[in-house]
């Protein structure tokens, strides 16, 4: 799943740096994730994983790192089955 997230970050140019320089725990906001880009990125994630982020997940923390995103998506996919 983390690879798919990484691929999306690269494709959508979500951050200002090369995604390969980021670790799973790197702060995406420090890497240049803007509020506008974070929402476009969320929409892309919803589309890619066929999920919908509930209101309680719409905070900065959810999208702060690849690991955090992975955890949130896993939780949502887990809820679906």
């Amino acid at each position: 799943m983390r690879d798919r997230i990484r691929k999306l970050i690269a494709e959508r140019k979500v951050v200002a740096v090369d995604v390969d320089t980021l670790s799973d725990t790197s702060d995406l906001y420090e890497a240049g994730l803007s509020s506008f880009a974070s929402i476009q990125f969320m929409l892309a994630l919803e589309d890619e994983f066929d999920i919908e982020f509930p209101e309680r997940m719409l905070t900065r923390k959810t999208f702060a790192s690849i690991e955090a995103i992975d955890r949130s998506i896993a939780e949502l996919i887990g809820e679906q089955v």
Binding site: E30, G32, L33, S34, S35, I39, E46, R56, L58, T59
Partner: protein, 395 residues
């Protein structure tokens, strides 16, 4: 010079003290507006009444007032002089960031104690040449070496910059940081020089003296807030700004309505037994004022429900509601004052009658451009691509 420091117990209630200041502010409001000068008398009175530190927690020597209590103080002052009230609100917005984020940092905790002792006036430098009102991006960066920082900023608007005792400045966290990776630094008088770049000859809010400056500063690296500015912006600045600005605009609108009501009552006394023209419009404008009051109060209720929960404060739903509060109150204030002018007619349009509302009208026109409503709406429209409005009446 330190303001003599009576213990909190012998201070009168804050609202009472603010009413004393409001009398002074009202006396000078015409001159402040005409001359576009800093309201020195009223700010001196605010300091003498120890109203600068009301939000500081009691453990640092302040009075620990809530945002609602502070908003009420802004509204009282807003009825007397829009510029003075906006200065007071902008100061308290900076104070709220210290209160929310400074308690765990020894330097900022010490600074809060100094704020209480010295009754500092705090200013803000977020707006930057090349960036404008886009709070969440900076071009300038703070440089840190050997425990010291240096920071230069093309700060195109710093309200009362020349009269402030300290300025809270946003910047990139480091020279190699992205534009959205920001810090906030407290620079104290003595740490900085200001070279004036632009003036402030404006339509309204003429007394805020929001001139532009080239700011050059240096100091102890501990003066940089430990938290990223993104957290400060989301968790204290956004809500404090939009609630306290709304409180000021409400105060201005309320005074315009009071003048309109006085006008209608005077007309009614002259013609007993008949409803004067304007009475119906007065009823209408009072309903608008009540609606505006409800918006501000609902904003505070929403804030208090999220308060002390960083996640809730950083949520998109919260940001969208705080944005909407600003849009609504800024638009409402302008509508209400325009309405008051219709009621008062030429007496309101003239600058020298007891019913004048010209200054009010000019002051509230700043509301829509104080961070452009279009910018805020476009930000909210982005949030609404994923966030849904909370349809419950009680959050």
């Amino acid at each position: 010079m330190a303001v003599p420091s009576p213990t909190i117990e012998i201070l009168r209630p804050p609202a009472e003290r603010m009413r004393s200041v409001a009398e002074i502010a009202a006396r000078h409001s015409g001159d402040v507006d005409r001359e576009g000068r800093f309201p020195q008398e009223a700010v001196d009175a605010l300091k003498a009444e120890r109203l600068m530190s009301v939000m500081v927690p009691k453990r640092f020597g302040g009075e620990g007032l809530s945002l609602l209590e502070t908003a009420e103080l802004c509204t009282i002052l807003g009825q007397a002089c829009g510029s003075t009230a906006m200065i007071y609100a902008m100061h308290q917005i900076k104070a709220s960031s210290l209160v929310s984020h400074g308690g765990s940092s020894p330097w900022h905790a010490g600074f809060m104690r100094d704020l209480v002792d010295e009754q500092y006036l705090l200013a803000s430098a977020t707006t930057e040449g090349g960036i404008g009102g886009d709070l969440r991006n900076s071009i300038c960066a703070v440089h840190v070496a050997d425990g010291r920082f240096t920071l230069e900023k093309d700060a195109t608007v710093i309200s009362y910059g020349l009269y402030a005792d300290a300025i809270l400045v946003t910047c990139r966290r480091a020279p190699d940081a992205q534009s959205s990776d920001q810090s906030m630094v407290v620079v104290k008088r003595g740490d900085y020089t200001l070279d004036k770049t632009t003036g402030w000859d404006t339509l309204g809010m003429r007394g805020t003296c929001s001139e532009g400056f080239r700011l050059v500063s240096a100091g102890d690296a501990a003066q940089i807030f430990p938290q990223p500015f993104s957290e400060i912006a989301a968790q204290s600045m956004l809500s404090a700004s939009h609630i306290l600005w709304g409180a000021v605009w409400f105060g201005i609108a309320a005074d315009a309505v009071a003048r309109a009501q006085a006008y209608v009552r005077a007309a009614a006394r002259k013609q007993p037994g008949s409803l004067p023209p304007g009475a119906l419009r007065l009823a209408e404008v009072v309903a608008m004022l009540q609606d505006m009051k409800a918006s501000v109060v609902a904003g505070v209720v929403r804030y208090e429900a999220a308060m002390n929960r960083p996640d809730a404060l950083s949520s998109m739903g919260f940001a969208a509601e705080m944005n909407n509060l600003k849009i609504t109150t800024s638009q409402r204030a302008a509508q209400i004052v325009t309405h008051a002018m219709l009621i008062t007619g030429l007496s309101g349009y003239k600058n020298d009658t007891p019913f004048s509302v010209g200054r009010h009208l000019r002051d509230v026109t700043s509301a829509a451009i104080m961070i452009s409503n279009d910018r805020i709406l476009s930000n909210t429209s982005n949030l609404l691509l994923v966030s849904r409005f909370d349809t419950s009446l009680v959050n």
